[in-house]
Symmetry: C2
Subunit: 413 residues, 2 copies
């Protein structure tokens, strides 16, 4: 894409009132637009990152046996009364509205009820299980605090998968599969080396749930990490009893601040009971369905990557989720040559952001490239010798000259 | 996909209270789930259709120069007060809610204000124009009447593109491009032969807007169609003056009922004025930006296809948007052979819905295949001679036997 065709622009100053680094950089680089506290629109560069994260998550969910669908945002009061989660006294972050025809509706803040209600229509026999539906969806939470940029939004885009299993053993097998899928997602997105599976509070049906915590000072959570084993414990379950059970030595644990980038829960029959979600087993006996939930906020994950991997010049995108792999800069009298290179790169299938703006100086163009953070910068300037291209990785300080003839081999590497 | 792994099931009876054919068939076939009047969740088969329609629309928008982004659902009251569309007395189908921190928010019922407000931050010079951002988004309209299934939802998924141009000539050039893009979308989706560009009321800035109307008795609109030229006029502008202007002969016009599957509008400065959306031209003079809007409801388009192309046995999906191209049916003792064919087809990249259920009779399997409506049914039954496959198009009555060796060539056709 030519920068001259992209309507967004970078800004030098941090917008006022935005204290979170993720939002500051994403706003300055033109990835997001702030509609109000905790509510952001995604501009073309930002949406490209979200779509790539979405593609990685979808791939992992499908491999694990997930079935994608899409539940509605508007939620029926009657459904939520079944599980006693309609009342504002029980759930304090509902957004609710009223139908013109009378009656209340809620905006999805989570999906257990919607899925339990839908699956109730289709599950009756052991032959119908297990099943693993999931969706990507906009979720709404009426947060009082929303000062963490896109880490904690009032509106955010997430993936949630729910597992419906015949018994604990079948549930546990899938739960272990999801642990591996989640670790794979964070590896592929590019923050696996900084993300730790963390034991957290499990609620009424399981001693523990598992969070995936990415280490950064910008996090809202405190965890205790055993760096040797890579196992961590959330502060909320950091007791001698738990440490003994997990065979962790208090002395070797390090306190870290972290962002929860994913979580997986065993739900037991917490939702299948109120929805009477049962099946007939091989012997003709009615049995309750065992559920689990597996969530990831895509905007939060994007924000976490910014917090973890940026430097003082801007963002540093991992290749798998960068908006563009190449940031091509044309300088001085070299626009015609850069045009040719751009056309060749695009024809070869490469994703290129091309700074073809005729009226910007080298310093400004390089600063924009650093802020936007594509992995590879290619420059054609007046100092670039004929037949050469200046090649620089965003993660390195020095550039080097590459003969045009070697470029295609280099780009494939 | 194996039917035994798909949790949805077909139903023989129409659900009570659902009078629209589109919703009746989609509910019976397990494509959608009704949450409340006008609110549907999309089950795996339904979402596959939506995603294919989305892919076609995205391709056409990108070819026309569109830039995809994603605006938030939650809308800031102050923005809508600028254009005087916040008040319920002006706009009667808002869903509104309240922030816990105080203040009102609305749920997007359209996108002109959101885009005008965002573009205001980025447009200042003639060099910044034209620009054509668009998004796919869930839209909310608090409808009193919602009895048309997925044709008129309280929550629906749409594409909206907004054009921002320097002047009327530039606007008009893009507007014509969008006419062609829209016709191409309806052709590719498979209803181009039944869809007519229709002159409709233009509002304050243009004499006409243009609708794309698909002919079916299930429609809510009345149009007058000149079958020779393919030009139609919406009832709302069906006057002698308009007919004269369009050189249409009243005698040759046929009254038709139709569904509006797309519309394009010239907005002039209706929104750029209140948002003070201007640019500095080449001579240093401030000029207003000229806007246009271009919408398509994806669920409505899917519903229109069902209304137009189904028969008394079920749906008949066009190849471009069918959930699966092949519906493979295994009968009697032929499951092992059908398994092999399924694996071969999937390995070749074909999209196959495989009815591998061991406990269903031929009649029920064929009825389900007709209801779900994939274009090609392949059957391996006890009556199928060795080495042969029974091949039947959904749109034809008769099946024929095809040697396995000829199948791959046939499938490519």
């Amino acid at each position: 894409m030519r920068l001259s065709k992209l309507f967004t622009k970078t800004r030098k100053d941090a917008p006022t009132g935005e204290t979170a680094k993720n939002a500051e950089l994403l706003l300055r680089a033109g990835f997001i637009f702030k509609e109000m506290a905790g509510v952001y629109s995604f501009l073309p560069l930002g949406l490209r990152v979200i779509k790539k994260i979405e593609g990685i998550i979808r791939d992992e969910m499908d491999r694990a046996g997930g079935l994608e669908m899409q539940t509605s945002v508007l939620q029926n009061k009657e459904i939520w009364e079944k599980s006693n989660r309609w009342s504002d006294e029980v759930v304090d972050n509902w957004f609710k509205s009223k139908l013109k025809t009378g009656g209340d509706v809620g905006l999805s803040f989570t999906n257990e009820e919607a899925y339990s209600n839908i699956l109730k229509q289709y599950i009756s026999s052991y032959k119908d299980l297990p099943v693993y539906p999931y969706d990507f969806k906009h979720i709404f939470r009426n947060e009082v605090r929303s000062k963490s940029g896109i880490l904690r939004g009032r509106e955010f885009y997430w993936k949630a998968l729910y597992s419906f299993s015949k018994n604990d053993a079948e549930h546990q097998e899938f739960y272990e599969r999801m642990k591996a899928s989640y670790q794979s997602i964070f590896n592929r997105v590019g923050i696996g080396h900084l993300t730790y599976m963390t034991f957290a509070s499990g609620g009424s049906f399981s001693k523990f749930s598992h969070e995936f915590q990415a280490i950064t000072d910008a996090g809202e959570d405190t965890i205790y990490l055993d760096e040797k084993s890579g196992i961590a414990v959330n502060k909320e379950v950091y007791t001698d009893e738990v440490l003994n059970e997990l065979r962790l030595d208090k002395e070797s644990l390090v306190e870290k601040t972290a962002i929860e980038v994913g979580n997986i829960f065993s739900l037991g029959t917490k939702f299948s009971d109120p929805f009477d979600l049962t099946y007939q087993d091989e012997n003709g006996t009615q049995q309750p369905v065992i559920m689990g939930s597996y969530g990831i906020g895509l905007g939060r994950l994007m924000g976490a990557v910014v917090e973890l991997l940026s430097d003082d010049k801007g963002m540093v995108w991992p290749e798998a989720i960068t908006p563009f792999k190449y940031h091509l800069v044309a300088l001085g009298e070299q626009h015609a040559k850069a045009d040719t290179l751009y056309d060749e790169l695009v024809a070869s299938g490469a994703e290129v952001l091309y700074d073809d703006r005729p009226d910007k100086a080298a310093g400004e163009k390089f600063a924009d490239a650093d802020l936007i953070g594509c992995p590879v910068r290619l420059t054609m300037g007046s100092k670039t010798p004929d037949g050469m291209v200046e090649y620089k990785l965003r993660s390195e300080k020095e550039s080097r000259l590459v003969p045009g003839s070697e470029l295609s081999a280099l780009l494939k590497s």
